[in-house]
């Protein structure tokens, strides 16, 4: 496959001014006032993306993921290194930044198209699609300053996804509009994926990455710490979150609690659909801790089937070996492999104390007539 994005040794430094002295008077009077500090937002990042891949870039705030994306889009120039791109690129960064509020929606569609690098003729061809997608037909000739914020963003999104880009870059913008429009956006991104376009998705939402991406890159304070299949990268991402938590609150959390294994009393993780499953989570604690227990079940496709916790009754860990039982009375899942993640979080659910990604894989066998993920037990008859 052709490489469409090639990032070679990209670093980006920002100068941070602690005292802004931008007027001439200030500069003349205090030429050396204020200090500048160099902030390394990206430290020699290398990776390449082939045509048709959907790659997620994850990392928490300040990890450099947005900086990397802006470099790829050409909004920022890397301090060192270079990025080679093939094909047209549309970026969904801060939607509507290019809008001129005094102009009508129609004029802005053309202007925004031109900013993204598409010709007037091309925009002519997709204009009706853009308007239909944005759902603001009756306001298209209204000045944009009278638009609601939702309309504004919808129009920008509609332009960006309809201009037929080879590479689509998405930065945490899927939180726009109402739920129905969000679903439409995700649907469009899926369609892009099916059409074999290259997509780069930046988010700190692990679920979104799991649902859309084949591959994920994890950034941590400017370093790339993982680049591989989504599941694998997410595991590293979660572990890093834990390590960071340990660093920040070392007194309480330093390796005091560890999830060892998940075992089944029967010794088997195979279960028939509809029957009960009991699992034991073996936790080793160095000191007593009281918190909440969380479990997640995912399909192999990365779809979250269920996330549940101890529901207000805390787990009280005592020093030494602890066993936490999970009872699934009637597993309503259909045929397939399901991954189990388990973890212990604090009472508020803010801090992850211990986490085990893919702690167990459950194989469900089912011989009924239903297909999909969940058994509804539907009966169909004519009345």
């Amino acid at each position: 496959m052709t490489t469409v994005i090639d990032v070679q040794g990209v670093s980006k430094n920002f100068k941070i001014h602690h005292e802004r002295n931008q007027s001439l008077k200030e500069r003349l009077l205090h030429p050396r006032a204020g200090t500048t500090e160099v902030f390394h937002a990206l430290k020699g990042v290398n990776f390449s993306v082939s045509q048709g891949e959907t790659v997620g870039i994850i990392g928490h705030n300040g990890s450099g993921k947005s900086t990397l994306l802006k470099c790829i889009c050409g909004v920022l120039k890397p301090t060192t290194g270079e990025i080679s791109l093939r094909g047209s690129l549309a970026a969904l960064l801060e939607l509507g930044a290019g809008f001129q509020t005094e102009l009508s929606g129609r004029d802005n569609v053309y202007l925004y198209g031109a900013m993204l690098g598409f010709s007037k003729k091309m925009v002519d061809g997709i204009f009706d699609d853009v308007v239909a997608f944005s759902e603001i037909e009756q306001f298209i000739d209204t000045q944009v300053k009278f638009y609601s914020s939702g309309m504004y963003v919808r129009l920008a999104f509609a332009v960006a996804v309809n201009v037929d880009p080879d590479i689509l870059v998405v930065d945490e913008v899927l939180a726009v509009g109402d739920e129905r429009f969000q679903a439409k956006c995700v649907e469009r991104i899926r369609q892009f994926k099916e059409e074999g376009r290259t997509i780069l998705l930046v988010t700190h939402n692990a679920d979104q990455v799991r649902a859309l991406c084949d591959r994920a890159i994890v950034l941590n304070t400017g370093d790339m710490i993982a680049d591989g299949p989504t599941q694998e990268s997410l595991r590293i991402f979660r572990e890093h979150l834990l390590e960071d938590a340990v660093e920040h609150d070392s007194a309480r959390l330093s390796e005091t609690i560890k999830i060892d294994t998940v075992t089944s009393p029967t010794g088997s993780f195979e279960v028939r659909s509809g029957s009960a499953l009991h699992l034991d989570v073996n936790v080793h604690a160095k000191s007593a801790y009281s918190g909440n227990f969380v479990m997640e079940i995912f399909t192999r496709g990365g779809l979250l089937v269920s996330r549940s916790d101890a529901q207000g009754s805390p787990v009280n860990l005592t020093p030494g070996h602890n066993v936490i039982g999970i009872d699934l009375a009637q597993l309503p899942l259909l045929d397939g492999l399901y991954d189990l993640n388990v973890g212990i979080v604090d009472h508020h659910g803010h801090t992850v104390i211990a986490w085990s990604e893919q702690a167990a894989t459950i194989q469900v066998t089912y011989d009924g007539r239903e297909a999909g993920i969940v058994e509804l037990g539907a009966t169909i008859r004519q009345q």
């Binding site: 930044a97 102009l103 031109a114 369609q191």
Partner: protein
Amino acid sequence: MSDAPSAEPRRRSLEDTPVRVVSARATLPARLKNLWSRRELLLGLISSDIRIKYKNSALGIFWSMLSPAFTLGVYYMVFSFFLKNGIPNFVIYLFSGLVVWNMFQNAINSATPVIVDRAALVKKVSFPREILALSNVGAATVYFVVQLVILIIFVAALRHAPAWHFMLILPISFLSLFLFTSALAVVMSAVNVYLRDTKHLMEVLLQLWFWLTPVVYSYENSIAPHLHRHGLSLLYFLNPVTLIVVTFQRVFYVSTVVHSTVNAAVILNILPTWSFSKFLYLNLLLFALSMVFFLVAEAIFGRLEGNFESEL
């Protein structure tokens, strides 16, 4: 593009598409090539600039003629009736210089703060940033063309024959004006990001610059003898706008030496008595220098733009 959910997978391979490189410093030819490839955006920005400027005003684009007309009227009144400079057909002399000056001043004043004003855009969307400054020069050029057309109508209405044989120099002179203005606009818009006083400084500087340019007075008739005595004539012509203004005046006003309207016995030197070939030579020289200045401006801009995001 196909909108159906069942869209065929795209078979187009990107194997043969050219590679674009984002790196710390683009070479000058790469910058110019990139700039040229985004000309459509430039045109879009020019037209949106013009539309926004006159949006919601009853007279619309007519203001681009009315306000220079008013300036012209004021200067004409002051210099013909109160100060009595004695230049016959002064309105044509004045108009031909003002057309040039208005474009220069408009462009520089609007382009200098443009990158700071549109910081939100600069930080979010990728395009050659100097296009913002150039779009203001473009808009000023549109107003210039409008005013030039009026000047031509004016000259025709007054049955004042222009210097036809000098017409040939006019396009060269205009191109020099366009290139010089673009270059200065590009540099100033970048400098203003680092030193926000630039905007105010340029406004003041342009007022001084206006009086250093022979628009409302005649250079030959006023300061030329004084400068000539000290061998400083060249100094005055270091101002590139001067040559362009004088060329426009030579074409539209024509006469170099006239009888004063105040006292017919007095003979006034209005314009330099250079030959056609000297005008052509000087304009070609200015064109070449403006071209070089534009390339230098692009290079300077490329240097300065690297740190925009930490200054905006």
